[in-house]
Symmetry: C2
Subunit: 257 residues, 2 copies
Amino acid sequence: MTDETRAWQTVLRSVETDLLAGVLKPGDRLPGERALATDLGVGRSSVREALRVLEVLGLIRTATGSGPSSGAIIVSTPRGGMSALLRLQVAASGFAVADIVDTRLVLETSIAATLARHAASGTAPKLTESESLLDAMEDASLSPAEFLALDARFHASLAEAAGNQVIVATMAGLRDSIESYVVAGVPTLPSWPDAVARLMREHRDILAAVRAGDADHARGVVHDHITGYYAETGLSGSAAAAASPHSAPTSTEGPIA
Amino acid sequence: MTDETRAWQTVLRSVETDLLAGVLKPGDRLPGERALATDLGVGRSSVREALRVLEVLGLIRTATGSGPSSGAIIVSTPRGGMSALLRLQVAASGFAVADIVDTRLVLETSIAATLARHAASGTAPKLTESESLLDAMEDASLSPAEFLALDARFHASLAEAAGNQVIVATMAGLRDSIESYVVAGVPTLPSWPDAVARLMREHRDILAAVRAGDADHARGVVHDHITGYYAETGLSGSAAAAASPHSAPTSTEGPIA
DNA sequence: CGACCGCTGTGGTCAGACCATAGTGGTCAG
DNA sequence: CTGACCACTATGGTCTGACCACAGCGGTCG
């Protein structure tokens, strides 16, 4: 029982403690695989398994060759890991697409409300990137896939403007995990150009509501925007419709999230 | 450049496509590592790296020995993967604790509102587990760590009652990722018994508000519950307090996230 | 008939080898 | 002195083979 933990977990834990202790910081290089192996008393293959996990989780980036930019370098790019996790769990039926959509709805309405509050309090976040993305989406020659890619970036830009990196990464992962379902839903739309027109109008409305500082309205617009598209493509979650701020007009505040 | 993808990614992609195609389902056994290696034309070590990723992500469970329960078996336990991802990202400074707290706030208020709506619409979810957890927490002989563990389970039980597995897993991960910070904050409290008393009162209030079907009230109670504790321990997000539906009815609202 | 025991297949781990890559530093021609 | 070139070296990426621990399975023997 002295050595119950598996060898690769030893490596993982070592890196984690070093991170927490400040020995390792973003930008630092990890010791080489061979050095780690001898230092920790495990085989190089076990080290590699741990590094592979760290890489997929977005904690490190590996590069061959020599020099300062080679080896395993601590980065902090949670999006890839979040995407991989959610995507694979969806594939394995661990997550239902409807739950993904509902979660995205929760987060995105929260983002809109936050941005609106920022605008109302004077500290207006710069939404120039969101704006230029919308302009780029006006191009009628875009294919559905291209349009949806810009659409995703637009929503991501809103999340980034809100400032919560956890939500940014989660949103990106949620979106990525159901990307195939989104694009697969395009042919089921009655009319793609009509859908584009509606989406663009709603995008402009979202931006306007956010800029106006009306949190509740922004929330409602975003809610309808998301549920509208997923309803058209048959992916809507059960709870989404009931959670609409519009269907609960008596409340002053509406759902925060 | 035809073979840019690394060997372990080949394995990962193979498993993913098999999952999406229905060839693999939860409960199924993966082929043995040696078989996978020869089938995919890669080395066994590469297969192991991919399996390690799948294991950490909560997609498979591995066991030695022989028989039907051995080998790599498809499971869908996203919680472990979510916890590992968030915890390591926090360690690597990829995620700020304040952002974790704020995200938890967003999700948990959403959960409370959903549960209240369920109750209001007659389809009352069974909160018997939440109730019994609260009863167990009344035990005054519990240590802070034990109490907080039950506290976490209480909140998790609410999330489960709401039914969204993505939110359940995310909530669990968020909580796990900052667990060390939560317990570290206990000594900074003015009085632990007082804190327990307040938390318990708030827990009962949450349950009552949810059962009453008042979504807005439930949201507010949960909001104050979470922000209250984190504020006492100095972990509160910058915007959390300002976003309260109670404390900011007018205009001085700050950012949520 | 039942307990026992070896066989076999599984993951877990290690060691060694080889390859591709990319800096690094020295060499040599101009 | 300068610059292009090239061997060297350190790095990750991969494969192979080997061995171990474990757990079920099935034949064997009392």
